[in-house]
Structure formats: C-alpha cells, structure tokens
C-alpha cells in the first residue's frame, strides 16, 4: 500500500478520533463528577444530529447557528432531566442508586431512539455541506474536514481552560475529589453535579453538529457511540480531556488502519478489543482524574 493511501487513512482517522473524543468529553466529565454511567449519552448525539440535520434541510440554518441553539437547549433539558429522574436516585443506597441510574439511562436511550424514529424517521441523516477540497497528489482533504478539526481543537482548548481556569472548573474538580469537603468549603455540590450533567450533555450537542457534517446519524446508532466513548475514557482516563483527545485519535486511527490492512467490516469492533487490551495490560489506568 502506497504512502499516499496510508496518509489519507491517517488524516481520516485523526478526524474521526477527534469526533469520538468530543463525545467522550461530556461522558467523562459526567462520570467523573456525578458518578453516573449515562448510557443515553451517545443517543443524545444521535438525536441532536437528527435535529441539526432537520434544521439544516428545513430552514437552511448554518451549522454554527444550529450548534449555538442546540447546546443551550440540550443544557436546559439535561438539567431538568437530572433533577427529575436522576437526583432522586442519589438518596437511595449505593446498590439501588447504581442499578437505578443504569435502568433510567438505558430506558431513556430506548425512548429517545424510538420517539426520534417515529417523529423524524429511522433513516440516516446528515448535513451535506460541500466545501471545496484540497488535493495534494493523491491525497484529498475536504475543507469541511479541516473546519471540523479546527472546531474539535477549539472546543478541547475551551473546555480545558474552563475546567482549569474558572470558578466553575475549580468547583467541578473539588466535587470530583471530595464532594463532602467541597460542600463544607461552600461549594453547592448538588448544584455543581446538575450543572456538570447539563454541561456534559450540551457538549454532545456541539459534537453532534460537527459529527453530522462528516458522517450520517440515525436514531438507533447512539449505543455504539456510547461504547466508543467508554473505551476512550478507559484508555484516556476519567475526566482527562487531553487524554481523551489522544485516546480518541488513537481509536480513530486504529479503526482506519484496521480497515486498510485488514478488513473494513472489523473496524467498528476494534474499540472493544482496544478497551479489553488496556484493561488487561494497564488495569489501574482507569483511575486518572481531572
């Protein structure tokens, strides 16, 4: 296989991995702070992607505007969802709380998928925005892909600064390390948890808009994305955004190379293999923190 082909696959892998990382950011943050394994996280991306596609095709809205509208909408919905369905479970014992959150989020996943499929159809949708492509010999890079990549980098930097340089970020880290201690120091840990859940969900809405610019979404694809996001968290570390970005890119490139040197039908399965390998070789890697 020529170097051009390899380079093309690597570029595609980096882009795909960056998108995976964006999905994982929110999930990682939510698990790190709220301690909830949100199985509906990937489905939020799918639903947001369908909404973004509808907004683009029906009203011709620009992707940037769609993201600007979807993110606060998702923030509000997730904030309400947390208070209504998840927060009451925290008052129960550990076992009931854990099983309860799994049941609630899995139930949400199924309901969101079915409702979206009923309302908007089960077929795949995307935002077919075609910008001129740049060709270097046999390598083709679309301007859309470059813009998506820029968006991923920008979002990663913004989120990193938000967590490291703002009061909200410090509060989030404090609750992650010791919720009771943070509470004593004046941090309203319950409110921070709700805000983190909402913030993590809002990042998915932005990730969804970037995702549908390159790949199609359908209402039932969410669980696969959630599994990939879990893999990235395992590989990159919980709440570790640069780690998640690196892990996402690793996964994206691994999928690309699997398709190139082995068989494309095995590419989606590589994330599970990677997760198992990491767990076996580095069993303590999951403990990383914000």
């Amino acid at each position: 296989m020529s170097f051009d082909v390899l380079l093309q696959v690597l570029i595609g892998g980096v882009l795909l991995g960056g998108l995976y990382a964006l999905v994982a950011f929110g999930l990682s943050l939510i698990y790190g702070v709220v301690r909830i394994l949100n199985f509906a996280h990937g489905t939020l991306l799918a639903v947001s992607g369908v909404l973004a596609s509808l907004a683009f095709s029906a009203w011709g809205m620009q992707p940037l505007l769609i993201a600007a509208l979807l993110a606060p909408l998702m923030f509000v919905c997730a904030y309400g969802y947390y208070h209504l369905l998840l927060r009451p479970l925290t008052k129960r014992n550990h076992f009931e709380s854990t099983v309860g959150t799994v049941l609630v989020t899995v139930g949400t996943l199924m309901m969101l998928s079915d409702i979206t499929a009923k309302a908007a159809g089960a077929t795949q949708r995307n935002i077919p925005l075609r910008l001129p492509a740049i060709e270097f010999g046999e390598i083709v890079i679309s301007t859309t892909q470059l813009l998506i990549l820029a968006g991923i980098v920008l979002l990663t930097v913004v989120m990193h600064l938000l967590l490291k340089r703002t009061w909200f970020g410090r509060a989030v880290r404090a609750v992650t390390q010791d919720a009771t201690g943070a509470q004593i120091c004046g941090v309203q840990s319950t409110r921070i948890k709700a805000l983190t859940f909402a913030f993590g969900s809002a990042t998915v809405a932005i990730a969804a808009v970037l995702y549908v610019l390159s790949f199609p979404v359908d209402p039932y694809m969410g669980f696969g994305l959630t599994v990939k996001a879990f893999t990235i968290i395992v590989v990159g570390g919980i709440g570790n955004l640069p780690g998640a970005l690196a892990a996402g890119v690793f996964l994206g490139v691994a999928e690309g190379l699997t398709g190139l040197y082995w068989k494309p039908e095995w590419a989606p399965a590589i994330s599970v293999v990677a997760m198992l390998l990491i767990l076996v070789v580095f069993p303590k890697r999951v403990g990383a923190r914000i």
Binding site: G12, L16, Q124, N126, R130, G259, L260, K263, P264, E265
Partner: protein, 408 residues
C-alpha cells in the same frame, strides 16, 4: 357455585357461541361460485421493514377495487368472474408474528389462498404453515434461493430481481459501451443477499473479460469509509460496483464523492428514492437496477400503473412493489389457469408455470423459484432513466459518467 352465577356464566357462554356461529369466516366453501375468492396476506406495516412497505395496504385495497371493477377473477368452472377479497394483517416485521397470523388465516379466517409474505427472514418460517394446511402461497419479495430448497410443495415466490439475474442487463450493457471498461472493483455490504450478488457477478465479470481488482466488505455500523475508499482510489478501477442495501451505503457514496473517486461508472445494486433523498446530488450519474418502471409496457402494466398511481406508490421509493403486485397477479393467473377455486388444482396449475407480469414473463422452476430480472437505470439530471436494454429504454446511457470522470 350459586345458581345465579351459573346462569350468568352459562348465558355468557351461549352468547359467545351465538356470536361465533353468526360470524362468517372470510371464505365459506372452497370451490364455491357464489362467495368471493379470498387472499390472505401480511404486510410489514410496523417494525424495521415498514419503510419498505409503508403504503402497501392502500395499494392492495386499490388493487382489489381495480380487479373487481372488471368483475373479478375469471373462474371457468363457474362460467363467470368471482370478486376478489383480501384479509390483511400487520406482521410487524417479526417472523413469529407472521407465522401466527398465517395460522390464523388458515384456521379462523379460512382464506382460500396466501399471497406474501415479503423478506427472507419471514420467508423462512412462514411457508411450512402453507404446506401444513395445503394452501398455495405465492410469496412476494423472498429472494433467498435456500427458502425454496426445502421440498415444500405449496410455495412460489416472485422477488424482483433474483440474485442470478440481478445485474444481467447491466453486464450486457457494459459489454457494448464505448470506451469499454477493463476493470471492476466490488464493494459489498456484509449481508447474505448482497454477498450472494457479489459472488455471482464477480464470477460473471471475470468471465466477461473484466479484471476484478478487489472486493471490500463493510458492515452496516461502519460510518468512516476512508480506508476502504483509499483502496478503491488506489486501484483505479473503471467500474466501482456497490452491492449494498440503500441505507447502509449512504456514507459510502457521500465519502466517495468527498474523496473524489474517479471511475467510468459507479454502479449500485439498490438505487432507490431513499438513497437519492439521503445523498442528494451525489447520486447523479450512478447506474443501478430497477425491476420495472411505469412506461415500460407489458402484461398488466396498465393495471399496475393505475394501482400505483391511485395509491401514491412509486417504483423508485418502493422498489419491491413489483414483487408484491406480481404475487397477486400470479395467484390470479393460477386460479384462471386452474379454472376452479380449488387449492390442489391451483397448485397443479402453478407448478413450473409461466405467468405474465408488467416486466415480462415469469417462469417458475420446480421449487417455485422465479427467474425475474431487472432493467438498468441511470440517474440523469436528478431523474431515473431506464438505459438498458435499448428496446425499452427511456433514454440513452451517458458513458462514461461525467460526474465520476471529473468529480466536483
């Protein structure tokens, strides 16, 4: 038990018996010249296959209306036409539900004949019901040959097209176009039917002198096709042959355009309205197969065109429609050939029979498997144009496809 409660239960039981006796089954007597002929069928109105069959209930009702407008189905032994009637249930795209419904139609509704079901997943478990009750069944879109290899005596199928004839006309076309393509690359959806198509047509491509440069298989979950497309681009094949269901290949087609794949032609085995809506202008110039298209004249074509028009069904959106309607037409022709509403006689009439359809004659082998083919179409200026064979073409093929020669 008190006397009053006994009286209540006995009264309810008698009332239920009365209702049961008064309720008339869909068909009273086999061979009757008074009652309508009743076809029993299921449609996948809900579940995963519902997008393929969404308007078929209305279509079936209109079909019955149109047939009955002319008096119905000619039954020689009665010396007259008998009206047609349907019993229709939703199988929910679930094999177990379909089996239960066909049992119900055989034992409760007492239908005369079965038409349907569709899809190979239902075509596996349902036919034994027909065989058990000795009710002839003309299935619609059940294309897997192994379904017909089980020694069942009461089943036939009218899928359009069957795998061995899927791209027959396309390969005939590419043997005659100028410049002649020299090589082909297969991209296959990981699915038994699609793999069967690739297995059949890659052999025929080689036999026709085309160099097969590769065959890549992809799963429905794959969204990033960069590595697959990079291989296809590097191979520089004259033809890229995509053997896939329409939905699974949406990102493939879009990314092929983004990554500027160049070829004389990109062929898709399922060029549908759904694919066109999802990929938009990216579909321009692609070739594919279509079982039939309004305007191609053949037996019953006027009836089929009227039914489709009245029920707002288009071939491009519901590409399996001809298979469904041909199952109805086949059963009607079987009854007309038998000359009597008798299951055994109809079974004999359909054995290795040749029946008429808008797309031409359909001949069944001893297993009940048909020999249906498809026409080659090309997307030209956003419209579907039948380009091969020339005698029924609605336009000329644009070769090589400009949109794939010089991608924008």
């Amino acid at each position: 038990m008190t006397k009053s409660s006994f009286q209540r239960i006995a009264g309810a039981a008698l009332a239920a018996l009365g209702v049961a006796l008064m309720a008339t089954p869909a068909s009273a007597k086999i061979g009757s010249c008074i009652d309508p002929i009743v076809f029993g069928t299921t449609l996948s109105e809900t579940g995963p296959f519902s997008t393929l069959a969404g308007r078929w209930r209305k279509m079936t009702e209109v079909f019955v209306e149109e047939v009955n407008k002319t008096g119905g189905v000619m039954v020689k032994s009665c010396g007259k036409k008998l009206p047609l009637k349907f019993v229709i249930y939703d199988d929910q795209s679930v094999p177990a539900t379909a089996v239960a419904l066909y049992e119900k139609m055989a034992t409760v509704d007492n239908v005369d004949f079965f038409v349907g079901p569709d899809w190979s997943s239902l075509g596996g478990p349902v036919p034994p019901v027909a065989d058990k009750h000795k009710i002839p069944m003309v299935m619609a879109n059940v294309a897997t040959p192994s379904v017909y290899d089980r020694g069942l005596r009461y089943i036939w199928g009218t899928p359009f097209p069957v795998v061995p004839r899927w791209s027959e006309r396309y390969f005939d076309m590419i043997s005659k176009v100028i410049p002649k393509p020299q090589s082909i690359y297969f991209v296959t959806h990981d699915n038994p039917v699609m793999k069967g198509i690739t297995a059949t047509w890659s052999k025929k491509a080689e036999a026709q002198g085309l160099k097969v440069l590769g065959n890549e298989t992809f799963s429905s979950e794959l969204k990033d096709f960069t590595s697959l497309i990079a291989k296809v681009r590097a191979a520089k094949a004259d033809i890229v042959y995509i053997s896939s269901y329409d939905n699974a290949s949406v990102p493939l087609v879009q990314q092929m355009r983004q990554l500027k794949v160049r070829a004389m032609d990109v062929h898709h085995t399922m060029l549908t309205g759904s694919l066109a809506r999802q990929v938009g202008a990216d579909i321009e110039g692609m070739t594919g197969e279509l079982s039939w298209y309004p305007g191609i004249k053949g037996a019953y074509s006027d009836l089929v065109e009227t039914v489709m028009k009245r029920s707002d069904v288009t071939m491009f959106d519901y590409i399996w429609t001809l298979g469904r309607l041909t199952s109805y037409l086949t059963m009607i022709q079987g009854i007309e050939k038998a000359g009597v509403v008798d299951r055994e006689k109809v079974k004999e009439a359909l054995f290795k029979a040749t029946v008429k359809s808008p797309a031409g004659d359909v001949t069944f082998d001893e297993r009940g498997f048909a020999d249906t083919g498809a026409f080659t179409v090309q997307m030209q200026n956003g419209k579907v144009v039948v380009v091969w064979p020339p005698e029924v073409a609605t336009g000329k093929v644009v070769w090589p496809s400009p949109t794939w020669q010089q991608p924008q």
